[in-house]
C-alpha cells in the first residue's frame, strides 16, 4: 500500500461528495421526507413540572377527537430505554417525571395538527416532589434524591462515579513547582441543535419492526430496539439513508423511535413521530455543563510539574454518557490527578455533543495556562510549545504526533511573533487581541465490516452500515474503496445505512467511522482483488502475484501491455464478492490522538462588548487527509460551533419554574453567517502507521480548541480573564468598563 500521499490515486484530493447532486437538488430523502401509505403523525406531550409523581392521566377527551388513533403513556406503554439511562432504569415514559420536558404521553393521529390538538386534551394530575436544579446543590446530603442512589451518578464500568484518573505523584509534583496556581472555570449547557428535528417512522409487518430512523448508527439502533422490545435482531430493521446532523445526540436508538413503534403497534398503522424544535432542544440532550477547579504547579520557565482537576458536571435527570472532562489531554503533565463528579439534577439531560468531554475543559485548562503564562511573564506561544503533549497519560507513545508542527505552522501563518502584545495594550475603545489553544481528539481503531461486489461490467458496489451525518462518511468510504480496489470513483456505487442489507457499523459517532469501518473496506477490497487476480492469472497465463489492478484495468505488473478490462476478467464469474470484518488494535504501549493548534485575532469593542473575529487559523494533525474538500469543511464547521459556545449559546433554565426558557434557535443564539469568520485550515499531513492510508480522524477535533482560543484572544485584547461561558457582550462590557 502506498505510504506517501504522492502515490495515491484519489486519496488526498479535493473530491466532491458522491451524493452532492442529491443534496443540492432536493432529491436526498431524509427520514422526515418519507411517506408510507396509511401513515399516521405523532406528537409528544412533555412534563410541565420538574419532579413529580403522575397521580393520574386522563386521555378520554383526547381519544374522542376525530382522527386520533392511538395514545400511549406510562400506564400502557412502559418500554425500557436502556441507552437513555445508564445508571438507573429509564423508560420511554417515566413516573415520576424528573425534569420539565420528560415525556408523558404520545398521540398518533391522521395529521399532525390533530395530534397537537389532542395533546392539549390530555389531563394529568401531578403530585409534586421537591426538585434541585444546581449540580452543587444536588450533591448536598439533604437535596431531593432524583435516583434511589442519590444524585452522584454512579453506574458500572465506564459509568462509575466519580470519574478518577491519576498518574505520577501530584504531591511530589507540587513540591517541585516554583509556583502553584488555583482557579475555577464554568461552562454551560449547550444544545447540539442540529438542523433536522428528530423524526422516526415505524412500521410493523407480520411481527417484524422496520424503523426509518434519523440515527447516527443503524446497527446500534437495531441492537437497542431488539433488546428493549425483546425481539430477535432478525425482526428489527433500521434504515437511515440521509441524516440532517446530530453531532452526538442521535447515537443509538432514542425514545422517539420506541414511541413511534409503540404507536404503530397500537394503531396497526405506520407512524411518523416528529419532534418540534422545542422538543428537540429539551427532549433529547445537549453538552454537559461543568464547574472545573484546577490546581497547577509550574516551574518559573512555565514547565508544568503537576495538575489536579476537581470538577462537577451536570448530567440532568438521566445519565446517557460519561460526563467526563478531558481538556488536559493535549499537555505533558508528569503528575496528574482528576476527579470528575457527574451529577443528576432535575434539568434537561446532558450527553454527547461533538467531542463530548473536550471544549468545556479545553476552555478551562487552556485559559488557565494562558493566565499562568501571563503571571509568569511568558509569551503564551512558548508556554503551549513547552507543555505540549508528548506522551499519552504520562507514559504511552503516540502512533503519530505532529502537535509541535501544528503550533509552529499555525503561529507562523497568523504572524504570532509580530502580532502578540501585552494584554490590553491597544489604545482606544477597540482592542486588538490574539490568542491560541491546543486541542484534538482520540484516534482509535475498532470493529468494522464491509462488503464489495464487483459486477460483471467492472463496476463496484460497496455496502457499509455507516450513516452520513454530514461528515461525508459515504464519500470517504467510496474513496477508500476506490483507492484500495484500483477502480475509479465514478465506477463505484455505495449503499449504506440499512441493517437488512448493509453489514455492521459502529455508528457515526466518536470520530470512529473512518478508523473502524475504513480498514474493513480496505480488507474487503483486498479480498476481492485476490479473487480478481486468481481469475486474471489463468486468463493471462501468469501467477496471481504478478497481476495488478489499477484504474479499472487488470494487467501484468512487469509487462503492462498484457492487460484486460476488469469486466472481461469478472464476466466469467458472474460477479465477485469481497468481504471483511476487521478489528485492529494498537500495541499495548501505544495510544492514538489527533492534534490541533488554533489561533484567532479579535477586535473587542469595549463600548458595546461586541467581539469581531478578524482572523482564524486552525492547524490540524489528522494524519493523511483522505478527502481535503470535506475535511476542510469539517474544520471550518467545528470552529463555528465553538464560536457559538464561546459567545452566546446557553440553555437557560428558569430558577423558579425549572423550565427551559430559550429552547429554540433564536433565543439559544446559534451563530449565523454574520458571526462566522473565514477559517483558514492547515493540515500537517503525515502518515499514521495505524490509520487507513495513514489517516487518523477529523470530525470531532475542530470544535475542541475553538472556545479557549477565542477566550485567550479576548484576554490579550482586554487584559480581562473570562472564567465563565458564554462570553456575552454584557459580561465583556462589565469587565472592561470597571
Amino acid at each position: 500500500m502506498a505510504e506517501s500521499s504522492k502515490e495515491f490515486s484519489i486519496v488526498g484530493k479535493k473530491t466532491p461528495r458522491i451524493d452532492a447532486y442529491e443534496r443540492v437538488t432536493g432529491q436526498a430523502q431524509y427520514t422526515g421526507d418519507l411517506q408510507l401509505p396509511g401513515m399516521l403523525y405523532a406528537r409528544v406531550l412533555r412534563s410541565s413540572v420538574p419532579h413529580a409523581k403522575i397521580a393520574s392521566i386522563d386521555t378520554s377527551k383526547a381519544e374522542k377527537l376525530p382522527g386520533v388513533k392511538a395514545i400511549i403513556h406510562h400506564g400502557n406503554a412502559q418500554v425500557p430505554w436502556s441507552s437513555g439511562g445508564l445508571t438507573h432504569r429509564r423508560y420511554i415514559f417515566n413516573n415520576p417525571v424528573r425534569y420539565v420536558g420528560d415525556p408523558v404521553a404520545a398521540v398518533a393521529a391522521t395529521d399532525r395538527h390533530i395530534a397537537e390538538d389532542a395533546l392539549k386534551l390530555i389531563e394529568i394530575n401531578y403530585e409534586k416532589i421537591p426538585h434541585v436544579l444546581d449540580a452543587n446543590e444536588a450533591l448536598k446530603p439533604d437535596a431531593p434524591k432524583i435516583t434511589p442512589n442519590g444524585n452522584l451518578s454512579v453506574g458500572k464500568g465506564p459509568f462509575s462515579a466519580p470519574i478518577e484518573e491519576s498518574w505520577g505523584d501530584v504531591e511530589q509534583g507540587f513540591k517541585e513547582a516554583d509556583k502553584i496556581f488555583e482557579d475555577t472555570f464554568i461552562t454551560k449547557h449547550v444544545n447540539n441543535a442540529q438542523m433536522e428535528r428528530r423524526v422516526s417512522i415505524a412500521r410493523w409487518d407480520a411481527g417484524k419492526l422496520t424503523v426509518y430512523a434519523s440515527t447516527q448508527g443503524v446497527s446500534n439502533a437495531r441492537t437497542d430496539i431488539a433488546k428493549d422490545f425483546g425481539l430477535p435482531l432478525s425482526k428489527v430493521r433500521v434504515i437511515c439513508k440521509y441524516m440532517g446532523g446530530g453531532f452526538g445526540n442521535k447515537n443509538q436508538a432514542q425514545d422517539y423511535d420506541y414511541m413511534a413503534a409503540m404507536l404503530a403497534k397500537a394503531a396497526d398503522q405506520p407512524v411518523k413521530l416528529e419532534f418540534t424544535r422545542e422538543d428537540d432542544f429539551i427532549g433529547m440532550h445537549g453538552r454537559w455543563s461543568s464547574e472545573q477547579h484546577y490546581k497547577v504547579g509550574v516551574k518559573n520557565d512555565g514547565t508544568i510539574t503537576a495538575v489536579m482537576l476537581d470538577a462537577v458536571t451536570n448530567m440532568g435527570a438521566y445519565r446517557k454518557q460519561s460526563g467526563n472532562l478531558s481538556g488536559t489531554d493535549f499537555y505533558n503533565i508528569p503528575n496528574f490527578k482528576k476527579v470528575v463528579k457527574p451529577v443528576h439534577t432535575n434539568t434537561v439531560v446532558a450527553a454527547n455533543y461533538r467531542a463530548p468531554a473536550y471544549p468545556q475543559s479545553v476552555f478551562g485548562f487552556a485559559s488557565f495556562l494562558d493566565q499562568i503564562a501571563f503571571e509568569l511573564g511568558l509569551n503564551p506561544l512558548d508556554m503551549f510549545l513547552r507543555n505540549r503533549a508528548q506522551k499519552s497519560k504520562g507514559k504511552l507513545a503516540y502512533t503519530s504526533n505532529y502537535l509541535e508542527q501544528c503550533i509552529v505552522e499555525g503561529a507562523k501563518r497568523i504572524g504570532w511573533r509580530e502580532k502578540w502584545h501585552k494584554p490590553g495594550a491597544t489604545a482606544g475603545p477597540k482592542k486588538h487581541g490574539i490568542g491560541m489553544a491546543l486541542g484534538g481528539y482520540p484516534f482509535r481503531p475498532g470493529l468494522g465490516a464491509a462488503t464489495i461486489r464487483i459486477n460483471s461490467d467492472g463496476t463496484a458496489h460497496v455496502l457499509v452500515g455507516v450513516t452520513d451525518i454530514g461528515t461525508g462518511a459515504k464519500s470517504t468510504m467510496a474513496i477508500i474503496a476506490s483507492e484500495a480496489l484500483g477502480i475509479p470513483l465514478n465506477q463505484i456505487q455505495l449503499t449504506n445505512g440499512d441493517t437488512d442489507v448493509t453489514p455492521y457499523s459502529v455508528g457515526e459517532s466518536g470520530s470512529r467511522t473512518t478508523a473502524f469501518t475504513g480498514p474493513a473496506v480496505v480488507a474487503a477490497a483486498e479480498d476481492v482483488r485476490k479473487q480478481i487476480f486468481n481469475l486474471a492469472a489463468s486468463q493471462l497465463k501468469t501467477k496471481a502475484e504478478e497481476i495488478e489492478l489499477r484504474n479499472g484495468e487488470v494487467f501484468v505488473k512487469n509487462d503492462p501491455a498484457q492487460k484486460r478490462a476488469l469486466s472481461q476478467v469478472v464476466a466469467q464469474a458472474g460477479e465477485l464478492i469481497g468481504r471483511a470484518t476487521t478489528n485492529p488494535n494498537f500495541p499495548k504501549e501505544m495510544d492514538g490522538k489527533c492534534f490541533s493548534a488554533h489561533f484567532a485575532e479579535v477586535e473587542v469593542d469595549t463600548w458595546t462588548g461586541h467581539v469581531q473575529i478578524t482572523r482564524y487559523v486552525a492547524a490540524h494533525d489528522s494524519g493523511t487527509i483522505l478527502n481535503r474538500l470535506t475535511a476542510e469543511s469539517q474544520i471550518k464547521g467545528g470552529v463555528v460551533q465553538g464560536i457559538g459556545m464561546a459567545f452566546s449559546e446557553e440553555l437557560i433554565i428558569d430558577k423558579v419554574t425549572a423550565t427551559p426558557i430559550n429552547p429554540n434557535y433564536r433565543d439559544a443564539k446559534v451563530p449565523t453567517h454574520l458571526e462566522a469568520p473565514e477559517v483558514e485550515v492547515i493540515f500537517i499531513e503525515n502518515y499514521d502507521p495505524y490509520g487507513v492510508f495513514g489517516g487518523k480522524v477529523v470530525g470531532e477535533p475542530p470544535i475542541t480548541a475553538a472556545v479557549a482560543t477565542i477566550a485567550n484572544a479576548i484576554f490579550n485584547a482586554t487584559g480581562k480573564r473570562f472564567k465563565e461561558l458564554p462570553m456575552t457582550p454584557d459580561k465583556i462590557v462589565r469587565a472592561v468598563q470597571v
Partner: protein, 206 residues
C-alpha cells in the same frame, strides 16, 4: 383571513393570520412569532381553529396545482405533504432557521411562516425548480464544487436565498452575500463554503 373565534387563545397560526401575508421581513415577523411561542410554550392552541378547507391554485416551479388546504396549513407543509416537494425542509417550523426558504414572487421567504391559503396567484420557486431538465443551475453546481452541503438539511434553503440574492444583484460582494444568507442557519457551520459557492456562481454567470 380573520377566521379565529372571538376570545380564542392567541395561537401561532392565528397570529400568523392576523399579521397578514406576503412580508419577507424575517426579522420583524419572527420577532413577533417567537414571543408568541414562548408565551405559549406547553399551552394549547385553541382546538379547531383553522380547520376549514379552501381550494387554492398554487403555482410552483411553473406548474399550477389545485389543492384543498386547511387554513392552518403552512406553505411548507403543503409543498412537502401534498405536492411531494420534500426538497424544502422544515427545521424549526417557527421562522428562525431558514431551511424552508423558497422564492415567492422573486423574494426569499420562510415557507413555514406563510399560510398556503395566502399563496393564490403567487409565483413560487422551490429547490426542485432550479435545474433546467438535467442542467443544474450554476448555483447548484457551485454548491457541489465548493462542498456547500455538509449534512445538507439547510442546503435547499441556503441555495434558495443565494438564488434570491443573485436574482436581485448578479454581482454581489461577499458582505452582501453574507447578509443575504443570514436568515439561513447552518448548524454544521459550513458558512464559508456556502458564501464561497454563491460568489463562485456569481462569477460564473457573468
Amino acid at each position: 383571513m380573520g377566521e379565529e373565534k372571538k376570545g380564542a387563545r392567541f395561537s401561532r397560526r392565528s397570529f400568523l393570520k392576523s399579521i397578514g401575508g406576503g412580508a419577507l421581513g424575517t426579522a420583524v415577523v419572527s420577532t413577533g412569532l417567537i414571543k408568541t411561542d414562548d408565551a405559549a410554550a406547553y399551552v394549547s392552541e385553541t382546538v379547531g381553529v383553522g380547520r376549514g378547507k379552501t381550494a387554492v391554485a398554487l403555482k410552483v416551479n411553473g406548474k399550477t396545482y389545485r389543492v384543498q388546504v386547511e387554513h392552518r396549513q403552512t406553505l411548507a407543509e403543503v409543498l412537502r405533504d401534498e405536492l411531494g416537494l420534500t426538497g424544502t425542509k422544515i427545521g424549526c417550523d417557527r421562522g428562525e432557521c431558514g431551511a424552508c426558504t423558497v422564492i415567492i414572487d422573486g423574494r426569499n421567504m420562510y415557507s413555514c411562516s406563510q399560510l398556503a391559503v395566502w399563496m393564490q396567484g403567487k409565483d413560487i420557486l422551490t429547490i426542485e425548480g432550479l435545474a433546467k431538465g438535467d442542467k443544474l443551475d450554476p448555483l447548484q453546481e457551485a454548491f457541489i464544487e465548493h462542498d456547500g452541503p455538509q449534512c445538507g438539511f439547510c442546503t435547499s434553503g441556503q441555495i434558495m436565498s443565494g438564488k434570491a440574492v443573485l436574482m436581485k444583484n448578479p454581482k454581489p460582494t461577499e458582505a452582501q452575500v453574507r447578509r443575504g444568507l443570514s436568515g439561513n442557519l447552518c448548524r454544521c457551520g459550513n458558512y464559508n463554503r456556502e458564501v464561497a459557492a454563491v460568489l463562485a456562481a456569481a462569477s460564473k454567470t457573468s
